[in-house]
């Protein structure tokens, strides 16, 4: 261990540590908000949009701060973010449009115990 004797350990930057725990707190709060919506709001398109929005917000904090991408050069940021934006487009196209089209063309109907005759394929 003779080489290690000249290693200088830098002092802790308290602000940096506080910033890390602040991001952790934000992530915990967003998750708590998701739980509030899960238990107080009826399922539906609006609630799903809220969930996905909050998820993307969480993803932003993880990628930008924890993975440090927000502090990299613009070229690296865009080379990671742009492909993912196209993927989101693909998800919307395949799930919302194609999934809905397949469901209606196959005649798949939702289950409603109150009136099983009723056809309700609106989301």
């Amino acid at each position: 261990m003779e080489q290690t004797s000249n290693v200088v350990v830098q002092p802790v930057d308290k602000n940096k540590i506080r910033g890390i725990w602040k991001i952790a707190g934000i992530l915990a709060i967003i998750t708590a908000i998701e739980y509030v919506f899960a238990f107080t709001m009826d399922a539906g398109l609006l609630r799903n949009v809220i969930f996905v929005g909050l998820t993307i917000l969480k993803a932003f904090y993880i990628v930008s701060e924890f993975m440090h991408l927000g502090h990299e050069v613009k070229g690296l940021i865009y080379s990671v973010i742009l492909p993912m934006i196209f993927i989101v487009w693909l998800i919307v196209a395949l799930v919302e449009l194609e999934g809905g089209a397949v469901k209606s063309s196959r005649g798949i109907v939702d289950y409603n115990p109150a009136s099983s005759e009723q056809v309700d394929d609106s989301h």
Binding site: T4, V7, W21, T55, F66, K74, V102, Y111
Partner: protein, 254 residues
């Protein structure tokens, strides 16, 4: 680009310059993670597509019963907690798992931060906490899978395909790859595949964390003069956390 100005007269193409100001290893880790994100996107697209085109339950959530005919309400499926019997604790256990994984991500950031200060003790301490968090998450997932497979409550009656022939009004208990008590066959199959694929990422992350933990403790990175390996492993670990955020939303909330 902004990078050319800071480099000055030095040619960017003559070597010796890190493109995008990130080291080779970190850049390649980013591109690997991007390709891994594509893989997970493919799985989540398949899940959402099948879910979207499956029959949904439109009745009162309080009257919900499991059936193989329509997609289940997630919080009715995941309402168990270890040691709690006969009570419904919807989404509490998966909330705990999410909390564990986010905390282990925080300890990983603290390990990276300690590495940048050349603080070997700090790196070893926080890497150890990260490993413990990863193992805790995997243990939770093992319990959840075991509970999911063995099933709970009353059996669901449905027509199933066993040993090459259809069996009518079969009492389905728990979940397998071909049918399950909670919903259509694809429900459990997708659950196993996607949470399993994510769990395998966590497992490999824990193994990589253990290797770097021992390397750091043995002073390998101190001799090397930098703790960049911790940063690269950290990127992978945060990605695993990131994927869980999406799996959590699409499987348990929506």
């Amino acid at each position: 680009m902004a990078t050319t100005a800071t480099v000055g007269n030095k040619s960017l193409w003559a070597g010796g310059v890190a493109p995008l100001k990130a080291s080779y290893g970190k850049l390649m880790m980013w591109f690997f993670l991007l390709s891994d994100a594509f893989t997970f996107s493919g799985l989540l697209i398949a899940y959402a597509f099948i879910r979207w085109s499956a029959p949904a339950y439109k009745g009162n959530p309080d009257d919900f019963v499991f059936s193989t005919e329509y997609w289940p309400i997630p919080e009715k499926v995941y309402d168990a907690f270890p040691g709690v019997h006969g009570q419904e604790w919807p989404l509490v256990f998966v909330g705990l798992m999410t909390f564990i994984l986010i905390l282990s991500s925080v300890t990983m950031v603290l390990a990276v931060e300690a590495g940048q200060r050349m603080d070997k003790k700090g790196v070893v301490k926080w890497m150890l906490w990260t490993i413990i968090g990863g193992i805790a998450f995997l243990s939770c997932q093992a319990w959840e899978w075991a509970h999911f497979i063995s099933g709970s409550g009353v059996a669901t009656i449905g027509d199933v395909f066993i040993n090459g022939r259809w069996v009518e009004d079969y009492e389905i208990m728990g979940a397998g790859l071909s049918f399950n008590q909670y919903g259509p066959p694809a429900f459990a199959a997708l659950f196993f595949f996607i949470t399993g694929f994510h769990g395998f990422h966590v497992l490999s992350g824990v193994v990589i964390n253990i290797i770097t933990f021992f390397n750091a403790a043995n002073g390998m990175y101190e001799k090397r003069g930098h703790y960049e390996m911790i940063e690269k492993v950290g990127l992978y670990w945060h990605f695993v956390d990131l994927v869980w955020v999406f799996v959590f939303t699409f499987f348990y909330l929506i």
